[in-house]
């Protein structure tokens, strides 16, 4: 109950710090999602419609990567971006960019593996038609993606869910720096460690509402578009 009251207080007091943190959460997750979709969707589709030796292994690898612990990904990206690491000269550690990179590594496999499944089902239905029409290669990937766009929104939402809820990786590479790399999840971790449990839960409730809104928006747009298409 305290937590709910805290959540309402946070939202309705229009707390500037809260909105800064919330906006950074959204920015980091959306940018990571955009990059991951651009990589993951064609990759998943390619693996579904192309026959080559080792394809099964690649799919297996993608599926296994979905289970990668965020803290391990965080550690790998940290060692990569650390000043004494191979990419240290770029000065990206403890910036939102570092958090985006870690999240791209985390959610690209999710989007690729899930879209792979969607397109594989479609492939059995469409492969002959596309083949007879001479649609191959890059054009085929695009054609499948466009055709499956409604089913693929679920893959995208799964990726978004992982990104916005993730704490283990972003706290390592972002450092949870106030007004710079503090996002909702790392703020929740910090408040928990201060013993401010009601405030931490309140932040959690705000994060949940955000996730609810994003999902409702995407599903709403999908339903609307699907209805118009088949009307």
């Amino acid at each position: 109950m305290d937590a709910l009251a805290e959540a309402f207080r946070l939202i309705f007091s229009l707390d500037a710090d809260l909105f800064e943190i919330l906006l950074l959460s959204i920015r980091v997750s959306l940018v990571a999602l955009g990059i991951s979709a651009v990589i993951g969707l064609p990759l998943g589709t390619y693996l579904a419609i192309t026959k080559f030796p080792g394809r099964k292994f690649c799919t297996l690898l993608l599926n296994a990567l979905m289970g990668m612990p965020p803290v391990v990904v965080g550690l790998m990206v940290y060692l990569l971006l650390s000043r004494s690491g191979p990419l240290g000269w770029m000065g990206l550690l403890y910036t939102p960019s570092a958090m985006i990179i870690a999240q791209v590594v985390l959610i690209t496999p999710i989007i690729a593996a899930l879209s792979n499944q969607v397109i594989e089902n479609l492939y059995q239905e469409y492969s002959d038609t596309f083949y007879s029409m001479g649609v191959t290669g890059r054009r085929a990937i695009l054609a499948y993606l466009v055709d499956a766009r409604y089913a693929l929104t679920t893959c995208i939402l799964a990726g978004f869910g992982r990104a916005i809820a993730e704490v283990g990786a972003v706290i390592i590479v972002g450092g949870n720096i106030d007004h710079l790399t503090r996002v909702m999840t790392t703020a929740i971790a910090l408040e928990t460690s201060k013993g401010n449990l009601a405030l931490a839960l309140g932040l959690g409730a705000v994060l949940f509402v955000l996730s609810l809104l994003v999902n409702a928006l995407v599903i709403g747009v999908r339903e609307y578009a699907a209805k118009r298409q088949y009307a």
């Binding site: 920015r27 939102p96 928990t192 460690s193 013993g195 401010n196």
Partner: protein, 265 residues
């Protein structure tokens, strides 16, 4: 494609970092709200933007050894001195102090309230078969705790998982877990006073020279880490050590209690 590139460029852009430093820090100074109080004053006087990464002393030192920070602000004097001796730190100065305390369940099953000294207190915990929650993370508090067990001639690791519970987490997380299990916990006083989830636990043992907790400040050596913003790190360090900085540290209070006692001079 062009849009995509603009998009990615925007996403990866970070604001120009004028006079900004990264401080690798212990957690107590953040969790107790000291930085929230101190850094705005510092910024007003010096214009410096300080980004704090609060991770616990052991990890902070390791991060700084990888050159991922400009200044170290921690509480493990011998580890700090080694950091300087190994060439990673320019120099080390005493900054401020407070003390460690032992907290635990109100019922006090090991009767810590009657302990003569901290050695006696730890022996009572062991003899009573009471639980003790340890940081277990090589932090400054953990280093201090291990040295106290050693002085008490007890090897707590032998009871690891039974009565000696190593959380491997920060001070706050260890308090959350330990107090929830009715265990005793060694904590710095600043974190304890500002900690909001005390549950049924109270402060049971305090006030002994062996529990002294010294904080130090160490600018990272630019010779070892060329990326260090030496001028800004020096400004930060010298301000903390100045009369103004020391007075500001002493003025910070939570619930009417002073948490850190400046002792640079």
């Amino acid at each position: 494609m062009k849009h995509l590139i603009t998009f990615i460029a925007f996403a990866l852009s970070t604001h120009a970092l004028a006079d900004t430093i990264i401080v690798q820090s212990t957690t107590s100074t953040q969790n107790s709200g000291l930085y929230d109080y101190l850094l705005p004053i510092l910024k007003k006087e010096t214009g410096l933007q300080v980004n704090v990464v609060a991770v616990g002393t052991g990890q902070a030192i390791k991060n700084a050894m990888r050159c991922d920070g400009d200044v170290l602000l921690v509480h493990a004097k011998s580890a700090e001195e080694k950091f300087v001796a190994d060439g990673y730190g320019g120099y080390r100065r005493d900054l401020m102090y407070n003390d460690f305390v032992i907290v635990g369940p109100k019922a006090d099953p090991a009767n810590l309230a009657g302990a003569r000294d901290v050695i006696d207190a730890l022996q009572r915990i062991k003899q009573a078969g009471a639980k003790f929650a340890s940081r277990g993370d090589d932090s400054g508090t953990h280093k201090k705790e291990r040295s106290l067990w050693q002085a008490a001639a007890i090897d707590p690791e032998a009871g690891s998982g039974q009565w000696y519970l190593e959380t491997g987490s920060g001070m706050g997380a260890t308090l959350n877990t330990g107090l929830g299990l009715g265990a005793y916990v060694l904590t710095d006083r600043a974190t304890w006073i500002s900690f909001a989830n005390k549950q049924d636990s109270i402060l049971l043992f305090e006030g002994e020279p062996a529990l002294f907790n010294q904080y130090g400040v160490v600018p990272v050596n630019v010779g070892k880490c060329p990326n260090v913003n030496q001028a800004a790190a020096e400004t930060f360090t010298q301000w903390l050590l100045s009369n103004t900085g020391q007075a500001a540290i002493g003025a910070y209070q939570v619930e009417g209690k002073q948490l850190f006692f400046p002792n640079a001079h």
